[in-house]
């Protein structure tokens, strides 16, 4: 039995390699028997330096790189960036392009939420639901592939509009997929709300009251499941969301059950929005012309990603390369809630609580340079870092 000498604590490590997490993150759970008494997180295993890398690309190249920030919600990243650059140049995408952006975003929300439902069911040990949701998710993946040519990185956006048009054949196939999924989602709604064994694992677990949710600054479906009215599609409509009747899905219970219910109800909302978009596709161009060099300015654009608020800051210095792009993804806002909710629960509930916020670690990791006067040498150069690494492991081996 491993005891920390100083504190006599029993620490369970989860990650960076652990079957519960398919992405690298490290959590240390202090447990007393089965009860969790403390939780700490260490992120940063998947830092890829994308923000810095786009500074050496031109605006169009940066679009494709930023789309690869996230493998699940790739479209929202490209949209947020494209809208930001369009704002810098005072251009708006044509109405038809905006509608197609909304269409792809909602299809992406469907695939993301279905994926999450499966993963969450797997964490609860309910693999049947996992298999079924992932099978049904293929329907929307196929529709996305038929529409855009890709399953994951759709590359729907260009700066100033979208790349492809929606043909009547696409409309029929998407509507068919949505009809099928709506029927299936009714079934999942029934499981999430009524399956007694499943409810044992979700009801009253990880309760986050509204006040706490506001203090912790959570976003997205996690916040809405605690009754916080926070949905950018309604609060600050972008890309023509104000043309459609979007309803904010709220639940005031704040536990895992509510988080399941909110996400499944958001699926229905996404089906409805897709039908509305396809019914009223405005005619017209797909792209607005935009210059290669972007005006010297800075801007902020915000998008409601499937996981919550996605924030982009873009600054231009008048050249054809962005001067600075800052990305804030929703997971980093929600991570604090996991650590604070885990305490006091059973060890078995922690994976559920963690997955309850729909974490996405690879878009989470940032490098922060803390500036203190006279301590500039805390920055490593590449050679220093390499030498430090070699020495560190030599010490460790000994």
């Amino acid at each position: 039995m491993v005891m920390e000498e100083d504190q006599k604590k029993f620490v369970i490590p989860i990650g960076p390699q652990h079957p519960a997490l398919k992405e690298p993150a490290h959590f240390e759970l202090t447990v007393d028997g089965e009860t969790v008494t403390g939780a700490t997180a260490r992120l940063g295993y998947a830092h890829r330096g994308i923000e810095k890398a786009v500074e050496s690309k031109n605006y169009t190249q940066a679009l494709y790189m930023l789309e690869r920030v996230c493998g699940i919600c790739s479209h929202v990243h490209a949209t947020a960036y494209a809208i930001g650059v369009e704002q810098l140049q005072d251009v708006t995408a044509p109405p038809r392009a905006q509608a197609i952006r909304v269409l792809v975003a909602e299809m992406e929300r469907i695939h993301s939420h279905l994926l999450w439902l499966g993963v969450a069911a797997h964490e609860a040990g309910f693999d049947t639901l996992f298999m079924f949701t992932w099978r049904d998710r293929e329907t929307i993946m196929d529709a996305l592939e038929a529409l855009t040519g890709n399953r994951v990185h759709y590359s729907a956006n260009v700066i100033g509009g979208v790349k492809f048009d929606v043909t009547p054949e696409h409309v029929t196939s998407i509507l068919r997929a949505v009809d099928f999924l709506e029927e299936r989602t009714n079934h999942y709604m029934d499981i999430v709300n009524n399956d007694a064994v499943f409810l044992q694992r979700t009801r009253g677990i990880g309760v986050m009251p509204k006040e706490k949710a506001e203090i912790l600054g959570v976003t997205g479906p996690t916040a809405r499941a605690s009754g916080v009215t926070r949905d950018l599609r309604i609060d600050a409509p972008y890309s023509g969301y104000d043309n459609y009747t979007t309803e904010m899905i709220l639940d005031d219970r704040g536990d895992l059950e509510a988080r399941f219910a909110v996400r499944v109800r958001e699926l229905f909302e996404a089906y409805r929005i897709i039908r509305e978009v396809l019914d009223n596709l405005p005619p017209g161009d797909l792209t607005a012309r935009i210059k290669r060099r972007i005006n010297e300015a800075e801007t902020v654009s915000r998008i409601e990603a499937p996981r919550g608020e996605l924030f982009y800051f873009v600054r231009s210095n008048g050249s054809d390369q962005p001067d600075r792009v800052k990305v804030r993804t929703p997971t980093i806002c929600n991570m604090a809630s996991v650590l604070s909710l885990a305490v006091g629960h059973q060890l078995a509930d922690v994976p559920m609580i963690l997955v309850g916020v729909d974490p996405c670690f690879s878009c989470n990791d940032r490098m922060i340079r803390v500036k203190r006067s006279g301590h500039d040498h805390e920055l490593f150069t590449w050679d220093q870092l390499r030498r430090y690494g070699i020495e560190y492991y030599q010490r460790k081996v000994r």
Partner: protein
């Protein structure tokens, strides 16, 4: 001659090789049915055999900080216990090789040996996942063992004997499932708890504690534990079929009845979410034990009348 029969019974049939092969085959049936219920293809029939062959051929890594002798001998004891139990049980529909008054208790004890060994294997270890897993395995052992034993003693009570062959003779042709439905259900679910099948798989919940007690086991040790679980599956199925489903007088009845139970097990596994360990304990003591005791009361009253 008698020695030769004993050796054959122990090593070839009905114990030993035949039992191990059938145990792995039943594991495959369970995997395949579960997969089909979950809309998957599932493995091909030789998958458990291939797994075991590969595990037995691999290097066994003994981690630092364990009692080495203990680490190596625990899987052997677990498998030996399960194989010994087979000698007193009518597996494959043939009469038990050995029989004496009260052998039911011995068999149930031998079947618990596997879980006990898994629990000890976990606690004889520095890995934190193993320690948590072994705590859970032993907690679960204490929760399902009593209701399972009581469910198994229900038929013994009406047969008026604690000898497996005599209970089997009594239950042959009588569907005790109809007169003792609670006992049957508890026995089935107890079997799932014994074998750590979902939803009672919290001792090896991969999303929390990797592989529980067996996290540090590899190669031969892990392979022997797996074989032991397969053997225990067959013995458990045989006991339930012999006591509750009108006996397993011949091989065909054995195959049909045990496979019937496996179908039920697969459906139950597919339907439920994994229970937390406190929920498992609550389920067994709050409902399982009380229900089976109530059934006992009914049986005793009827016998007295």
């Amino acid at each position: 001659m008698e020695t030769l029969t004993a050796i054959v019974a122990l090593l070839l049939f009905p114990g030993g090789i035949a039992l191990i092969a059938v145990g792995l085959l039943y594991k495959w049936v369970n995997l395949k049915l579960l997969a089909r219920a979950q809309n998957r293809q599932g493995p091909r029939w030789f998958q458990p055999f291939a797994d075991i062959a590969k595990l037995l051929a691999k290097e066994e890594i003994i981690p630092d900080g364990v009692n080495r002798r203990f680490f190596v001998i625990l899987p052997t004891i677990a498998l030996a216990g399960a194989l010994t139990a087979a000698l007193y049980v009518p597996v494959f529909g043939v009469n038990p090789s050995y029989s004496f008054s009260g052998d039911l208790i011995v068999v149930i004890y031998l079947l618990s040996l596997l879980t006990l060994c898994i629990g000890l294997a976990g606690s004889n270890n520095n890995s934190r996942f193993s320690v948590i897993g072994s705590t859970r395995a032993l907690t679960q052992l204490f929760s399902y063992e009593v209701p399972f034993l009581l469910a198994m003693l229900g038929p013994a009570l009406v047969a008026g004997s604690w000898q497996i062959s005599e209970i089997h003779d009594y239950s042959a042709g009588r569907l005790l499932l109809l007169s003792q439905p609670v006992g049957f259900i508890i026995a089935i679910i107890g079997l799932m708890g014994k074998l750590e099948m979902p939803p009672f798989d919290s001792p090896e919940a991969e999303t929390e504690i990797v592989a529980g007690s067996l996290t540090e086991y590899s190669g031969r040790g892990l392979g022997l534990f797996r074989i032991g679980q397969g053997v225990e599956l067959v013995i458990g199925l045989t006991l339930v079929a012999a006591f509750y489903l009108g006996g397993v007088g011949n091989p065909i009845a054995f195959v049909l009845k045990t496979l019937g139970i496996v179908v039920g097990l697969a459906v139950l596994q597919a339907l439920a979410t994994r229970l937390r360990i406190d929920q498992t304990v609550g389920l067994w003591w709050r409902y399982g034990a009380l229900l089976v005791l109530a059934q006992w009361a009914v049986l005793i009253v009827f016998r007295a009348v």
